[in-house]
């Protein structure tokens, strides 16, 4: 019998949980959580989303068959619950990405709305993290936004100030395109038993065990997300 270390887990359960964590539902959950917590858009998990969609579709058909074949209602409703949960995870993942790409809060002023859209559109490495439908979405948003700004505001400004992305023709760069706040702190946990982080202001690395929650600068862990680190 594996030793109970008092936090409710045992070595056996740990392995079992590791096994469990390879289901697509668990992977989707991790992807959703990481995406929500990260200040910038992360790489689109195309394979995972494709598999999840297929599984969900298959399960929908299966549940229908079960219902028609007269399987007991309890079992059918349990399968439906699992299906709903997977569906929720997938939708949440896709939705949080869209929200990042085109902030939809109406509380923000107009310049906030276009903020992130333009930045991603300009930035090749970020652009490559989007799925094809997301790219189309962003392009359409930008086109609509530019058209809207032109018609309502920019065409009425003096000639030198009509650019969407620059304050005026003498701006050296796109100074009307604010950038996402990457200098932000995020909370994370180690995926594996032990992870070591290099910090800017300390020679000693920050060493994390499974039970540690660390608040660090996003850039310290940005290339470790999904590999060594999960955001929480």
């Amino acid at each position: 019998m594996a030793e109970d270390i008092g936090d409710g887990s045992t070595a056996e359960m740990d392995d079992y949980e590791t096994l469990m964590s390879t289901t697509d539902a668990e992977l989707l959950k991790t992807a959703w959580r990481n995406e929500k917590a990260a200040p910038e858009i992360l790489q689109f998990q195309a394979q995972l989303v494709k598999r999840a969609k297929e599984q969900i579709q298959l399960m929908e058909e299966t549940v229908e068959e079960y219902e028609e074949s007269g399987m007991d209602p309890l079992t059918v409703s349990l399968y439906q619950m699992d299906l709903d949960r997977a569906h929720f995870l997938l939708r949440s993942y896709l939705r949080v990405r869209l929200q990042k790409v085109a902030t939809s809060s109406f509380v923000f002023c107009m310049s906030q709305l276009e903020k992130y859209m333009f930045y991603i559109w300009k930035n090749e490495s970020l652009w490559s993290r989007l799925s094809d439908p997301e790219k189309m979405f962003v392009q359409r948003c930008i086109d609509d936004m530019e058209k809207h700004l032109q018609e309502t505001v920019l065409s009425k400004l003096p000639d030198n100030y009509q650019s969407v992305r620059r304050q005026s023709v003498i701006s050296e760069e796109d100074d009307m395109v604010p950038e996402p706040q990457l200098d932000t702190f995020i909370a994370c946990k180690a995926r594996n038993r032990f992870v070591s982080l290099r910090l800017a202001d300390s020679e000693r690395p920050l060493e994390m065990e499974r039970h540690d929650v660390s608040f660090v600068l996003y850039k310290v862990i940005e290339d470790k997300i999904g590999a060594d680190i999960d955001l929480v």
């Binding site: 200040p39 299906l83 920050l206 929650v213 660390s214």
Partner: protein
């Protein structure tokens, strides 16, 4: 950056935190026979009367609701263990006791769905509430002791606690970080008007001593 842009709001809503916790495994004792369930989220069962089996919390709650099982409270939820944890939390002001990452959500779900399966439920509930309070208070008081750091590590912090203290911790860290990096301050100024108080700090002397990292 839904949620990220507003430092005052929790990143995850409590129902979302609970949703994530519902995949945690818990032991049930079925009172019926059922074939294995092959879910997207994993395979469970088969189920035999009186034979304990581990299932995710959400499934346990669904079966319990339909009168198909009893739920075995996890070992850590015993009065004996919780009392020990509470004492530990009170004695040791600087560190947190080991608790399951989702202890708050798990206990809440069990209180809601399986009251009759938890012996001395009022005592258990009261102990867990006290533990929550002591821990939360501990985060707040320890945070004030920050010297300039670029990272904070907290052993055994739980999911709900992370979510609740996150805005507070991030703001505190950001304040120290800005204070320590006056050059970066200039860049931040031109970027976002979302930050609540972007103030210009005076240049720190080059030989200013960096504070050592605060270990938790």
């Amino acid at each position: 950056m839904a949620g990220q842009s507003d430092p005052h709001v929790s990143l995850f809503s409590p129902p979302e935190v609970e949703f994530m916790a519902e995949d945690e495994l818990v032991e049930i004792v079925p009172n019926m026979r059922m074939d294995p369930l092959n879910f997207i989220c994993g395979d469970f069962g088969p189920f035999y009367p009186q034979i304990p089996v581990k299932v995710p919390l959400w499934l346990a709650a669904a079966l319990k609701k339909r009168g198909k099982c009893t739920i075995r409270p996890p070992q850590w939820m015993s009065i004996e263990n919780l009392t020990k944890v509470l004492e530990g939390e009170r004695e040791d002001r600087g560190t947190f006791q080991a608790v399951p990452f989702h202890y708050i959500e798990i206990s809440r779900l069990l209180f809601d769905h399986a009251r009759d399966d938890i012996p001395d439920i009022y005592m258990v509930r009261s102990l867990i509430e006290d533990i929550r309070d002591v821990r939360l208070h501990k985060v707040e008081t320890n945070l004030e002791k920050f010297s300039a750091t670029s990272a904070v590590k907290i052993a055994h912090l739980s999911a709900m606690e992370v979510n609740v203290v996150r805005p507070f911790v991030v703001r505190a860290l950001q304040a120290f970080y800005k204070h320590d990096n006056p050059v970066l301050m200039v860049d931040l100024d031109s970027v976002s008007d979302r930050q609540s108080h972007v103030t210009r700090q005076r240049q720190m002397p080059n030989n200013a001593q960096k504070q050592p990292l605060k270990r938790r």
